[in-house]
């Protein structure tokens, strides 16, 4: 796994730029080793996750080590059941690993209590789920304000200004007062992106955001996601099945049977 590592935040990637596969922002050549990569914001070290015990034991993540810099948007690819969701759930503080550590900005996530994990998710992580999972009885704007209310000490006026700004930026200015049922799938996913960014998180985790969308809509959503994440200097990890979405990311990690590797050329996955 020592070669599956992160680049520094320079801006030239001869390999990917040459292939033209990353039109929106060239990624970096892989660094040699995460442990040598001192500036990484997110560091996943030797993470392992085993479900069940004895003969029902399932090793969902066998060995995952990765480092992602601030401002990077990376893709996590892999066949069904390979452990993608499990890995980003651990990274986002939704699951505790059976072994290994996750640090975000130098602080250890794996050591947090249940209560601290709840606050950690509210303040430092933004999730975009496969289906938008918006609160059905709150308007687009209220969905954003709700997550702001989860963080202690946010002023209402500030939250409102931020929600309005985000919705405007996501092209939802005119939809702010609509309930989710009155929005299209793509619009809902955009609201979910706004919600993920609402509390100004360090990390944005996205699990198959395009699964419920057609290709054109999917591209639009991922493009927007990239723009927001890069523009705000956030760190993003997107789980996807869809190789066409990989071009919007800086780098690609692949997970196979629980083993995580950094890959230079995702086209190798094409069948």
């Amino acid at each position: 796994m020592t070669d599956a590592m992160t680049p520094g935040p320079t801006s030239e990637d001869p390999v990917l730029a040459a292939t033209g596969s990353v039109p929106n922002g060239p990624g970096e050549p892989p660094a040699l080793d995460a442990t040598h990569h001192a500036s990484a914001l997110l560091r996943v070290s030797d993470v392992r996750k085993v479900y069940g015990e004895g003969h029902t034991e399932v090793v969902a993540v066998a060995d995952a080590t990765m480092a992602v810099d601030q401002g990077e948007f990376v893709a996590l690819l892999g066949p069904s059941g390979s452990g993608k969701t499990t890995l980003i759930s651990i990274v986002g503080g939704l699951l505790s690993p059976s072994g290994g550590t996750v640090t975000l900005g130098g602080s250890d996530v794996t050591g947090l209590s249940k209560k601290d994990l709840t606050a950690f998710r509210a303040e430092r992580v933004g999730f975009v789920f496969q289906s938008a999972n918006l609160v059905p009885f709150l308007t687009a704007r209220e969905n954003l304000l709700y997550v702001a209310s989860l963080v202690k000490g946010t002023s209402r006026a500030q939250a409102q200004a931020r929600a309005d700004g985000l919705l405007e930026e996501l092209g939802l200015g005119a939809r702010a007062k609509n309930l989710p049922e009155q929005l299209s799938g793509g619009e809902r996913q955009r609201v979910a992106i706004g919600r993920a960014l609402m509390n100004d998180p360090d990390l944005v985790l996205v699990d198959e955001p395009t699964a419920a969308l057609d290709t054109a809509m999917g591209r639009q959503v991922v493009e927007l996601l990239r723009r927001e994440i890069k523009g705000r200097g956030k760190t993003g990890i997107m789980v996807t099945h869809d190789l066409r979405m990989v071009e919007y990311t800086d780098r690609v990690f692949e997970i196979l049977d629980g083993h995580l590797t950094h890959v230079e050329e995702p086209s190798a996955l094409r069948h």
Binding site: G92, F127, F129, S131, F137, V147
Partner: protein, 368 residues
């Protein structure tokens, strides 16, 4: 909290269901409560609305004023008993009389005005004065029969002029007439010829004494007598205690059902929102925050249920025929409102465990 309130605002139909169910339950309980209070107050008014703290009965009376037989000479003995501040004769006669608009049911109370057993709930006119014969204060319920100050009510041909009205003084659901012992005895002799020739007989002796007084010592003043506090005397009236306990157990069972209804409703609601709650937990909402929302919703539903149920019950009270003894009391309403609120909140508490068990990890991926 915004979440809980918005859910009610945007899903009014669903909350209308639980509010409607709760208001019907509260309505039922309040009507039962009014009936229980009506029966109790109507049966016991005459022993609650006087100066007497206790009554002395003959031994065979089993606490019944109507069945008791004492003699006027016993009053002095009771008055001399330790702790007794005042003792007065009481004569009771359940009968019918002739009012200004026709026959009326009556409970005639013969008392010694100013002594123990004098009504304390005068609302109009005055009470008969000591030594005044042929005058009476009437229960306010007799106003419905056309009785007014100055009217005459005759019992067995013996007339009494109404000089005032007293409130809340029914006895065994019959309106009372408060007169002198002498007039009472004349009326008794007129309608119960078999009791004639007992010129010093009375029914019982009313006693004014501090609450701490030993009733057994008072009873000991008269051979074979018993003594009961005014409250016990009310409960000893045939049927009163049984009616109260039957109606009260129906009321409290129904309130427990209200708790169950709320518990089931919110359990279903939480079950339905499992996915949403998992997502909200993943976004950083705590079990406590989600639970408080559900409890707030239950409290709002209960308060609305109580308000609507109380309105319905009062409207129903307007159309209940006057023969049915009902009494809508504020204390009963407050008690029932508190019980409903508690039942609702306790019912919703059962959902907390369910919310706590929702795993935020199930929110992500959609495949789990």
């Amino acid at each position: 909290m915004m979440l809980a309130i918005r859910e009610i605002q945007r899903g009014k139909g669903r909350f209308a269901t639980i509010v409607a169910a709760l208001s019907l339950i509260v309505f039922l309980v309040l009507v039962l409560g009014a009936l229980a209070d009506g029966l109790f107050y109507g049966a016991t008014g005459a022993v609650r609305s006087t100066s007497a703290a206790a009554y002395v009965f003959s031994g065979d009376a089993e606490g019944s004023l109507v069945r008791s037989r004492l003699d006027e000479s016993d009053v002095a003995a009771v008055a001399a008993a330790p702790g007794v501040e005042q003792a007065g004769p009481v004569g009771v006669l359940l009968t019918g009389g002739a009012g200004p608009q026709g026959p009326v049911d009556l409970a005639v109370f013969g008392i010694e005005p100013g002594s123990a057993g004098t009504p304390t709930t005068l609302v109009e006119g005055r009470l008969p004065e000591a030594g005044e014969a042929g005058a009476a204060a009437a229960d306010t319920r007799l106003r419905d029969d056309g009785v007014a100050v100055g009217s005459t009510i005759a019992v067995g041909g013996i007339p009494a002029t109404i000089v005032g009205f007293v409130a809340d003084s029914s006895y065994q659901l019959q309106p009372t007439l408060w007169t002198s012992v002498g007039t009472w005895r004349e009326m008794r002799d007129a309608v119960r010829p078999e009791l004639r020739g007992q010129p010093t007989a009375i029914s019982a002796i009313a006693v004014v004494a501090p609450a701490s007084t030993d009733l057994a010592q008072i009873a000991a003043a008269v051979t074979g007598a018993t003594a009961l506090s005014a409250e016990q005397t009310g409960l000893a009236i045939p049927g009163v205690e049984q009616q109260s306990s039957t109606l009260n157990s129906i009321i409290y069972t129904t309130l427990a059902v209200a708790g169950l209804v709320v518990a089931l409703f919110f359990a279903l609601l939480v079950l339905e929102k499992r996915e949403l709650f998992a997502a909200l937990k993943a976004l950083g909402s705590s079990t406590g925050r989600l639970g408080r929302g559900v409890i707030l919703q239950a409290a709002i539903a209960s308060v609305l249920g109580v308000v609507l149920g109380a309105l319905l019950a009062r409207l129903f009270g307007l159309v209940i025929p006057p023969e049915v003894p009902t009494l809508f009391r504020t204390d009963t309403l407050v008690t029932i409102a508190i019980f409903t609120l508690v039942a609702g909140v306790v019912g919703a508490l059962f959902s907390l465990r369910r919310i706590a068990r929702i795993d935020p990890a199930t929110a992500i991926g959609g495949a789990l």
